[in-house]
Symmetry: none
Subunit: 131 residues, 4 copies
Amino acid sequence: MVTLKDARRIIAAAEKKAEEIGQPMNIAVADSGGNLVSHVRMDGAWIGSIDISIKKAYTSRAFDISTKDLAEHSQSGGQFFGIHASNGGQIMIFAGGIPLMQDGEVVGAIGVSGGSGEQDHAVAEAGADAF
Amino acid sequence: MVTLKDARRIIAAAEKKAEEIGQPMNIAVADSGGNLVSHVRMDGAWIGSIDISIKKAYTSRAFDISTKDLAEHSQSGGQFFGIHASNGGQIMIFAGGIPLMQDGEVVGAIGVSGGSGEQDHAVAEAGADAF
Amino acid sequence: MVTLKDARRIIAAAEKKAEEIGQPMNIAVADSGGNLVSHVRMDGAWIGSIDISIKKAYTSRAFDISTKDLAEHSQSGGQFFGIHASNGGQIMIFAGGIPLMQDGEVVGAIGVSGGSGEQDHAVAEAGADAF
Amino acid sequence: MVTLKDARRIIAAAEKKAEEIGQPMNIAVADSGGNLVSHVRMDGAWIGSIDISIKKAYTSRAFDISTKDLAEHSQSGGQFFGIHASNGGQIMIFAGGIPLMQDGEVVGAIGVSGGSGEQDHAVAEAGADAF
């Protein structure tokens, strides 16, 4: 279970990482139902990334996979190409979403957006590690 | 301007009020462009209210009015009836959204959802007062 | 036919009226196909009214009627109640949209949003009169 | 801040360029919140480009980047592939959107649509230069 307290700890760790690499981010945490627990937009982070961070968290929980890994199968020619058109436009297929694990089970996810794919993934990892 | 630090202070005050009245809430803060700065869902709050809280904040900034006041003009027979069909479904016409004022100007808004209209409005007021 | 030059003359007249009554407005002009020719948001006008002004213009041309008149039939109990759910959410059923007439035919429409229904209609009328 | 007066100056410069190259265009200007300030469709410009011009302006502000540059990362195999499915379909990933800069900060954007990608970008540049 991901409580609001958990989400805040996860977000704090992600923010710290974002500050270290000097890139303001949108950070979102979703629960086991894929529903948003909390979101923050750091000052100066892209407004187009609000939606993306929330959807990366949803996507990671929806398929119990990092969006970085999902991306590999979702390019033109891949086995899941077109998956981004499902679920009412909630599926994001580029790096920044990572499942949150508890006792070997996915119980939620973090989604990060605001920099390069590599930066987003690194910040999401810092958040997930704090869980 | 509404910074993330501002949003956190506003949300903390709203959470405190929600705890006092014993009703877990979704609380969202938007900036002057109507874009989300931060959102929290208190443990046990309705998942259907995530979206509503974010949209109440948007609506309050979009029309520089509390959603409680907007509601009065948006019923069947009122001068704004049908306004909820505008802006891609982002307009909420019931209590819980309140503009955030700075130097006599609206610079953002808070949106609260999770209880009765009266409760939502009271929690939003507590948040707005902390700005 | 409504040219861009026409739209600018219509908008200028509407802006003048809006300034007279001291209420900044969103003003939109659509052509015979219901498609947008031009839009302006006066400084300080509501951001939620951008979409509404464009949709009032569309609606007025779509049914060759002022949205003020359409409103009368679109309230709960009226013969067109529910029409706002049609056309992908583009139908606005409150005052501020007025058809543009040429040789007894509707060739476009103006849509205004930013004040009370009465103000919106008055500003739209000033614009339509300039055509 | 992008005022309506600014938007008109930007649009006038873009129109002039569009006339020079002989291609009628849709031109849109958005503010720092990504919200539309003004739009014009030059006589004869594509009606399908109304929406695209407005969304290119939104996109450029949403990610503080030209849509021409965003396009490079958004093709199949790129780090942002799939970004066009975010933000409710508002993201355009082909040339024609350019951020508007003030004191080194992005405060809005221009979006142009109506010709080839190269033409759209050139017209947008002429508009942005007038800011």
